[in-house]
């Protein structure tokens, strides 16, 4: 079998988190009753006049600047014509030859290796409605609430070579859009999704192979699995002497299988033409500079600051800054307890594991930044042991209760009183002469058993440093 190179380009669609739609004042909020966020403009009634939402331009430029794009001083909107029930006007207003942003790039990190992915363009456009299958009548129901919700489409260069790079690129974009606060990036709700263009070619061949397109993938897992599947499929077709057709693949994520849709050669004939109802967008240097100056601290800059300001290892800084929610959480908790390394360890350890199990983000957790900070303070002051702290944290995570309240309620305050601990140590030593003898005979493991017995007696509340100190004193006497 020949060696093949995989060529992948991503078209990422991000719903902008504006309050209103792109050309009318209807709300964009998610989950409303069908067809209650609609008006004559967004349902494509004849004789209506769309007017562009100024925030859409601002948000798209933010995304362009954060991905190193050139911002067009002159840009226009165009009609993309196609006929489908989710599109009441029978055309989508998009941008064809003069998009808002062109020629950028982002750096991605795959297993410690840095790579730059080019961005061809970013343009603004409107979303389509939602089609629901009516199992009872067999008909299709049209909900137009999502019609004309603003989108940006971020088109990458064909620089991506495998599934891991594609996922890393998507994660990087998600992180940037979250930091900019221009998209809520809720992939399961479809507010961030992507189309994958993929082709393969024998290594050394100059020309690209024929590519297929898979639309609307809305999870990292789906992107990864589709790419692995489609790469294998195309190579198998070529190895068996077949040809790849330019067609659309429908990805069934549950089954992990892609289906080639019957190729419709003329389906791509969108007959773009300039939108006569919307004025050109002409931007001044001053306007663009104002937006540039308003950009928040981006993830890679924040990462460097965490290393220098908080003395965190680069690895920790990378993980903490990957998501804006995590970074915000980290900074707030650190400000409250002044122990950045402890906060980092908590976030990167059990906390993340528990969040992943619940499939929620850190900002949706019941544990507030203040509560985590006060838990850390209790450890730092020696009020509780770190072992007990883990137990307390689990309860905080489930109930949202404050650390102090759980400590008081359950009497979990650490015993640091030497007199009290000494009594228990003596008792345990007397009850276990064999272990003491083993220890004296050189079996260090015996000490662990004795410590365990003491902790059991104190329900884990004895200060471990004091226990160790007293135990050695008593045995060696």
């Amino acid at each position: 079998m020949k060696d093949y190179e995989v060529i992948i380009g991503l078209e990422v669609h991000a719903e902008l988190s504006t309050k209103t739609k792109i050309y009318c004042n209807c709300s964009t909020s998610f989950g409303a009753d069908p067809n209650t966020h609609c008006c004559p403009i967004c349902t494509g009634m004849p004789g209506t006049l769309p007017v562009l939402n100024e925030k859409v331009v601002e948000y798209a430029i933010k995304a362009g600047l954060a991905t190193n794009c050139e911002i067009s001083r002159f840009s226009k909107q165009d009609r993309k014509n196609y006929f489908y029930p989710d599109l009441p006007k029978a055309y989508q207003i998009s941008q064809y030859d003069l998009p808002l942003c062109i020629g950028g790039h982002v750096d991605i990190n795959v297993d410690g290796n840095k790579k730059t992915i080019g961005i061809t363009r970013i343009h603004i456009e409107e979303d389509a409605g939602k089609l629901i299958h009516d199992a009872y009548t067999g008909d299709t129901l049209v909900d137009m609430n999502r019609c004309a919700v603003p989108l940006i489409e971020i088109v990458s260069e064909p620089d991506i070579r495998n599934a891991d790079e594609a996922v890393a690129y998507m994660q990087t974009l998600k992180s940037i859009l979250e930091y900019l606060e221009v998209c809520d990036c809720k992939m399961q709700e479809g507010s961030l999704r992507c189309d994958v263009n993929l082709s393969v070619r024998p290594v050394g061949q100059k020309e690209f192979g024929t590519r297929t397109e898979t639309k609307n993938l809305n999870s990292f897992r789906a992107i990864h699995n589709l790419i692995e599947f489609e790469t294998k499929r195309q190579i198998e077709v070529l190895e068996n002497g077949g040809v790849i057709h330019q067609e659309t693949i429908r990805w069934d994520d549950a089954k992990g299988v892609g289906y080639a849709m019957r190729s419709k050669e003329d389906a791509q004939d969108y007959r773009y033409f300039p939108e006569p109802d919307l004025a050109p967008i002409v931007l001044s240097d001053e306007y663009i500079n104002d937006i540039k100056n308003s950009l928040p601290e981006m993830p890679h800059i924040k990462k460097e600051r965490y290393v220098s300001e908080f003395n965190l290892p680069e690895y920790d800084a990378e993980i903490l800054t990957a998501s804006k929610h995590t970074a915000d959480y980290f900074e707030k908790a650190t400000a409250a307890c002044n122990n950045p390394k402890a906060v980092a360890n908590w976030i990167m350890g059990d906390f993340t594991k528990m969040l992943n199990e619940k499939e929620i983000e850190i900002n949706e957790s019941k544990v507030t930044e203040e509560n985590l900070a006060s838990l850390i303070c209790l450890i730092d002051k020696g009020t509780i042991s770190s072992k007990i702290a883990k137990q307390i944290f689990e309860e905080m995570f489930e109930t949202g209760e404050k650390a102090e309240d759980i400590v008081n309620k359950k009497g979990l305050v650490q015993i640091s009183d030497e007199g009290a601990i000494k009594e228990i140590v003596k008792k345990v030593v007397e009850a276990n002469p064999q272990s003491v003898a083993d220890y004296k005979a050189g079996k260090d493991r015996a000490i662990g058993f004795l410590v365990g017995q003491i902790m059991k007696e104190t329900k884990g509340k004895a200060n471990p440093q004091i226990v160790n100190k007293l135990l050695l004193e008593i045995i060696n006497n």
Binding site: T20, N25, C26, L52, K76, L141
Partner: protein, 95 residues
């Protein structure tokens, strides 16, 4: 003919229209006339003239991002020939 019968068939297909042979002939004629008329413009010398993005001399027409009430659903669905569960109902397209 500046536009062929095949092209008319293609456009009809994109617009989900079924045309009879008679209609195809008629529209091939009519559309050719329209295209010929518009083609007159190709004779004009446009050297040194900037492409026009809009017929009016306007730019930057924006609105503020402020929510206003949408229409009542009854009104939005008023003209739909078929509706169900608060939605417009159309022949099956979802697979």
């Amino acid at each position: 003919m500046s536009i062929s019968k095949e092209e008319v068939k293609h456009i009809a297909k994109l617009s989900k229209l079924n045309l009879t042979e008679q209609e195809l002939d008629k529209y091939t004629n009519d559309l050719s006339d329209i295209v010929n008329f518009a083609n007159e413009l190709s004779n004009i010398d446009v050297d040194g003239i900037k492409p026009t993005a809009h017929i009016l001399d306007i730019k930057n027409v924006f609105r503020k991002d402020e929510v206003q009430p949408s229409y009542d659903r009854e009104q939005i669905l008023k003209n739909a020939p078929s509706k169900d569960a608060g939605c417009i109902s159309v022949p099956k397209v979802v697979e």
